[in-house]
């Protein structure tokens, strides 16, 4: 394992120290318990938005803390849920008196830890609601199971509900918009290579020199199918089919799309993939109103990409366009 780190057990803390040093104008990092919080938190009279999850997906979530997006992020160990004490402390730090929304990706650990944190906060009189993101169409959904994994839609939702909170929406309204995002968004990813968790020291899985894993999870969880390498056009087309048919998206839908790199994929390929997606969308009459092309929710150095598609109503588009100032996403400010 070659990594630009010191000791595996110090990666998360030292990286957070770097984040803090680089972006002291927009964020503060609190250590033990670890959380990243807006420099001006708590913003009085504003709903607080807190997200969190395992580290290794940067810029998500710490890179999305700032005006117009998250009030705080709780980074766990690499690929490991943060703990309730982090979320509780972050929630208190951003509570501006209008309640706090927790944005949670649907992994058992994340869900339960956020639930415990919410109970602790509610016991202290803070109004807390949670929105759970589960958008990965690679996982079969059924009433009897845990549901789907939360992946790329988390990024789009963080932007949109962050803007809603900034606009002054109340907790119920912000939560409703978050749930509308969940109801209208779908994602899928494909990996060309595995990543290596620093403390594990070896790749999470092995892929042959001509193999890809279609439907990969953001922690390297197995996907739908392991198949032979295909062209960008073929890969995008089959992933798009899975996404479009799931919601389903329909001709005329206005959408926000994200072509997301897993961390080790060069930007020249991501734009090429976006070009392929544009062709698919045009063929099906799907309108691309907004888009993100880049590394937003990564899996360490994994090579691969994911597609996220959100059917966006005019309100969501307006919130999308609202100013945002974070380390990982910035416009209008």
């Amino acid at each position: 394992m070659k990594k630009l780190i010191n000791k595996p057990e110090d990666v998360v803390r030292e990286s957070l120290e770097g984040l803090q040093a680089a972006h002291a104008d927009i964020i503060k990092v609190h250590f033990e318990p670890h959380y990243v919080v807006r420099a001006d938190a708590p913003v009085l009279g504003k709903v607080g938005v807190v997200s969190g999850g395992g580290s290794g997906h940067e810029p998500m979530h710490g890179g999305f803390v700032g005006k117009g997006m998250l009030d705080a992020a709780c980074p766990g160990d690499i690929f490991t849920s943060p703990t309730p004490d982090q979320m509780e402390a972050a929630t208190k730090a951003v509570n501006g008196g209008k309640g706090v929304l927790h944005l949670v990706k649907n992994y058992t650990g994340d869900v339960m830890n956020f639930e415990m944190a919410a109970e602790l906060c509610q016991a202290e009189g803070i109004d807390v609601q949670a929105v759970v993101i589960e958008d990965d169409v690679a996982v079969k959904d059924s009433l009897h199971t845990t549901g789907r994994r939360g992946v790329g839609l988390t990024v789009l939702t963080e932007k949109i509900i962050g803007a809603a909170a900034e606009r002054g929406d109340n907790l119920q309204e912000v939560a409703n918009i978050g749930r509308a995002c969940q109801a209208n968004g779908r994602s899928m990813g494909t990996a060309l290579t595995s990543c290596t968790v620093p403390s594990a020291g070896k790749p999470t899985f092995e892929l042959g020199p001509n193999e890809i894993e279609v439907g990969i999870g953001i922690h390297g969880e197995p996907g739908r199918e392991r198949m032979k390498m295909k062209s960008a056009a073929e890969i995008v087309s089959s992933m798009s089919d899975a996404i479009l048919s799931d919601l389903p998206f329909k001709s005329g839908d206005e959408t926000i799309v994200m072509i997301n790199g897993m961390g080790g994929t060069p930007l020249i390929e991501l734009y090429l993939l976006y070009n392929e997606f544009v062709k698919v969308a045009q063929g099906k009459g799907i309108k691309i109103a907004r888009r993100l092309v880049g590394n937003y929710i990564t899996s360490l150095e994994m090579q691969g990409f994911s597609i996220t598609l959100l059917r966006a109503d005019p309100n969501m588009l307006k919130l999308w366009d609202a100013p945002v100032h974070t380390a990982g996403l910035r416009w209008g400010i």
Binding site: P33, S81, P84, T108, G109, E115, K140, T145, T146
Partner: protein, 207 residues
Amino acid sequence: MVTTDSVVAWLHKLDDIYTENKSYLTELDSAIGDADHGINMARGFSKVTEALEQQPPKDIGAACKTVSMTLIKTVGGASGPLYGTFFLKGSMQTVGKTELDAPGLLELFAAGVDGVVARGKAVLEDKTMVDAWLPAIEAMRAAVDKGITPMLAAGVEAAEQGMKATVALVARKGRASYLGERSKDHQDPGATSTYLMLKAASETLAR
């Protein structure tokens, strides 16, 4: 009677047991999860040892509360909140108590397991730790009149059977559920750590 000291002995024993079984549990988790269950449990209970030494508990409720807070803060993942909740609910049954008879000990375990079920919303045959916990509680309830030692023995036996029965199941809760059918033919790591927890209890609390 179970005393505060014997509860503390049980908790120290858990530190040893999870350290010994760290790679075994992690291996089980690597087959159908994310290869960290043994690491999580070992880390959590070594911190429990530290916490108990730093602030020796004055009663059983306090001991359970310390375990709960420590696990919640240091384990993370799914098992952190689950075992954390187990000890939290157990502590609420034992506030101020320095001794427990068989029904009192059963209450601790039963309240804890209720907490686990409420937290994780798993039912029998979802291939989780609940498949070890629920049969164990049932067996202990049936044996409560026989006294602490036979009660715990019955619980361990039932937990072991429940743990082994998870092999054949398809996971419907937790990380393994994303694997669907492919989760079959593997023993659930959480059910295994639960069996080990009860086994340690019978070795340290029985008298």
